[in-house]
Point group: C2
Chain length 261, copies 2
């Protein structure tokens, strides 16, 4: 099977022009098939502020109302996605930018309204693996913005970690798939204050232990839950670490690797 690397980058890289350029140098050098999934960064908030659109937060989570959806569609699928694509092209990387609506790549539904209505937020139903595979086999590099659609004309704001995981799940029977979640830390840390305390390897049993000891808490829990869900669905390995260390992450010399056992 061909190797496929699916790499998710977050806002800390996107917001910093020099960091993004260095990341794209490293990404362009990654061998084999590859997919980049980018998050949003602070630009959407900045543009919303400038347009006088107030961000609604409930329990610290952004609510995607109609005005916010317009902003994230402009900024994620327009500004960020197309600039990354153009910069990858300049690096000899034949990138194509996609949302879930493009080619019906990722179909989702609006999250059910239980206690809170999160607005136009999508939960993923299906990834069109044959379509993505055909692009990868034409040596295209896919760049996903965190936007999906419901097949009824509605675009939906969708968590970029989830998009990366769902794509990995969809393609793991066709490719030997590695999923890399990059963020602002060196990996999963034993001590949140100490960047040198990276845990090299976590299996399910150790994960339970780390949660009980409250070494792993808050925002790391959904990230690791996603990672273990990806492994269960056939992804070869999941690596969590710093985008600035992409080549080391892929070589297993940096970050935290999430494994079956």
């Amino acid at each position: 099977m061909n190797r496929l690397s699916i790499i998710k980058i977050g806002g800390n890289i996107i917001d910093d022009e020099a960091k993004l350029a260095a990341f794209l140098d490293a990404f362009a050098a990654v061998r084999g098939k590859k997919i980049l999934v980018h998050g949003g960064g602070k630009l959407a908030t900045k543009i919303a502020d400038e347009l006088g659109i107030r961000q609604q937060l409930v329990d610290g989570r952004r609510i995607t109302d109609a005005a916010t959806l317009k902003i994230v569609t402009m900024v994620y699928a327009g500004t960020i996605n197309k600039n990354i694509v153009a910069q990858l092209q300049a690096r000899g990387c034949n990138a194509i930018g996609l949302t879930g609506a493009d080619g019906n790549a990722i179909l989702a539904h609006k999250r059910g309204t239980a206690a809170i209505d999160y607005g136009y937020v999508g939960d993923v139903d299906a990834v069109d693996a044959p379509f993505l595979t055909s692009l990868l086999e034409q040596d295209k590099v896919l760049v996903f913005a965190p936007i999906t659609h419901d097949g009824k004309g509605q675009l939906l704001n969708t968590n970029a970690d989830t998009i990366a995981q769902e794509i990995a799940r969809g393609l793991s029977s066709t490719f030997e798939t590695s999923l890399i979640y990059s963020f602002e830390k060196s990996g999963v840390l034993m001590n949140a204050e100490d960047e040198s305390s990276v845990i090299g390897r976590i299996n399910p049993a150790y994960y339970q232990e780390l949660k009980q000891q409250q070494v792993i808490f808050a925002g790391m829990i959904p990230k690791l839950d996603n990672a273990f869900a990806a492994l269960k669905s056939g992804v070869q390995k999941v690596i969590i670490g710093r985008a600035e260390e992409l080549s080391q992450l892929l070589a297993g010399q940096s970050g935290t690797t999430i494994v079956h056992d």
Copy 2:
């Protein structure tokens, strides 16, 4: 050869939600392979105004400075393109949105600075016909935003009529290609004030005559020059008329058809 329709729509359709929905109904019903090229509309100007970005005009032409390029990238490649794609998906049309940067579909260069610097405006150098053909052969419907790139990381604002013409030129040896320029009038008019005075058919000799008589002037001249250039490069026929009459245009029952002789 398979039939391919390349249809360009302008701002008057994009700015009007009901007109756009009706157009997309008609577009979804077009048989054979198809490509939609959309222009900008007034939304970019509205967003620029709201963000306090002053539009520079020289001789009535918008100058694409760096701030304006950011706006058009957001609005054309983000808002407009992705909403059209999602709405086509809802109509059972498997659309994929593209700029020229995506898959290196359309390579351009920044227009040379003669008397006036138009800023980040692209003149097209090359269309990747095999890439576009492979998508069309996977039954994808292509939706182009009027943005290209220079292969060195720079996005470029590019005239949508020109994009439609260059794509038609690139694909006319593979498909029996019709190029439809839709705009706010019923076709090329004998009397600009009279919508019922549509000229049904124009060949090169008649075009010269109509220009000499000043029946055709101003903005219609570059549009018709583009049309004749497209015919010369192998496009089967070019039709100019109202987007609201798409099916009649394609059936030759409406609009002006530009022909070799």
